[in-house]
């Protein structure tokens, strides 16, 4: 993979596609994307499409003035593949996001965002 993984990943996000990496040597999934596996040090990382489902691991409401966009959820989400990422949960009031909430990924304007998964909260 002799190219910028960051640039490749961001280009796919701009196309609405969400990829994570999986190390074919040690079988760990990896996110954020990088050139070498942080678990085994190998260079056998392959792109894979995650199921897109995950669980809120930690959550905060950033308190902003309405003129600055108002209150904003920021969460850490554990994907079912075992990687964690920062994002926000849309389609639900910031204060209603809670740890353990099941969520599903969507790509909006080059960002990976989440919404509560079908069937609601855990």
């Amino acid at each position: 993979m002799n190219e910028s993984v960051l640039a490749w990943h961001q280009a796919r996000l701009q196309e609405g596609k969400f990829f994570i990496q999986r190390c074919s040597a040690c079988a760990h999934h990896v996110y954020f994307p990088r050139a070498f596996c942080p678990h085994c040090g190998g260079d056998a990382l392959e792109w894979t499409t995650p199921a897109g489902t995950g669980t809120v691991y930690a959550a905060t409401t950033v308190r902003r003035k309405p003129t600055e966009g108002g209150d904003l959820n920021v969460s850490l989400i554990d994907l079912d593949e075992g990687v964690r990422l920062m994002s926000r949960i849309d389609g639900i009031a910031a204060d209603d996001v809670h740890i353990g909430l099941r969520v599903r990924a969507k790509v909006v304007d080059g960002l990976v965002l989440f919404a509560p998964a079908d069937g609601g909260s855990a």
Binding site: A58, A59, T60, V62, R63, G69, V74, M86, L111
Partner: protein
Amino acid sequence: MNTRTLRGSCAIAGVATFGCGETPGFTDLELLAHAAHAAVVDAGLQMTDIDGLCTASVSSPMWAMPVIEYLGLNPRYIDGTMLGGSSFIAHLLPAIQALEAGRCRHVLVCYGSAQRSGTFGRSASAGARRLLDPQPYEHPYEPMLPPSAYALAASRHMYEFGTTRAQMADVAVAARAWARLNPEAFVRDPLTRDDVLRSRMVSDPLSVRDCCLVTDGAGAFVLTRADRARDLPNRPVYVLGNSTAVWNRQISSMHDLTVTAAQQSGADTFAMAGFTPRDIDVVQLYDAFTINTILFLEDLGFCAKGEGGAFVSDGRIAPGGALPVNTNGGGLSCVHPGMYGIFALIEAVRQLRGEAGERQVPGALTALAHGNGGTLSSQSTAILATADAL
């Protein structure tokens, strides 16, 4: 070389702070220079005796050079390692190794920041850092960094262990009670648990009173070999242990938000010192946010994981409590000019020298100072002691 052989080999001979709080008109470098000169005078030395320098800056990656130029030094040992607020505690062990190897005789460790009053203020510097030190997997989601990172850790600690906002508030209340005994502390008004709980939310569950101050200030200390320190005017404060650990940069890369790398830096430091937490008389922790004090008390072994919230309640870490923590008022109430670590170390030295005035912990012979940097990213621990505890 086993670090155990370095236990007590070097000592802090001089300390100083300058311009803590609000000092309009000063530059970072001017504040630093005043603290540096005062620390060298306190050590009974002259600036020309200094042949080792450790320093770091939030805004200038080449910071050692202007500091050397301004102070007129010609150091044989230079360390500009930047690990955020833990830097100046992380500078100890490499400096001890340099002193023991004979590379230099006296190391000056120094920091200064006009963060509160400077024209290039906090928001400008945060904006510049986004360009110079991009975090493309966090910044687009608009966390308010650093508070939101610590808020995420607090949310997880509350979820896993039942830690409450009231317990976190007790950390701020204890820090303020100590600050009220310290003439140098920037904020000294009374503060109650209800005041903290009712204050404006910044990033849930952290309110503005759960967050550190934004002040100006500078701090410096002089490290020298123990045999030389004994000939200097102050009672030497020996460095018995020091270790640094970094496990991640971004909060989203932290493996477990309730466990910091202080577990590693703390265990290694206690092993080097040959001490356990029971042997420590005063504790200075990098309290950028109230959750920090709880996390570090757990990770350094002063209480079990998950019990930090209960541990800090009921005045246990406040004046008169069983364990004196952040006796200067900490980053929450005393001083926090961008990076706080050097001030934790200086307060530990002042306590061990018996120079802490109204807030003096009687008979303090041992102290732990702990620095944190980034968003729970870097951790550095030091154990200091007087000759009686060697």
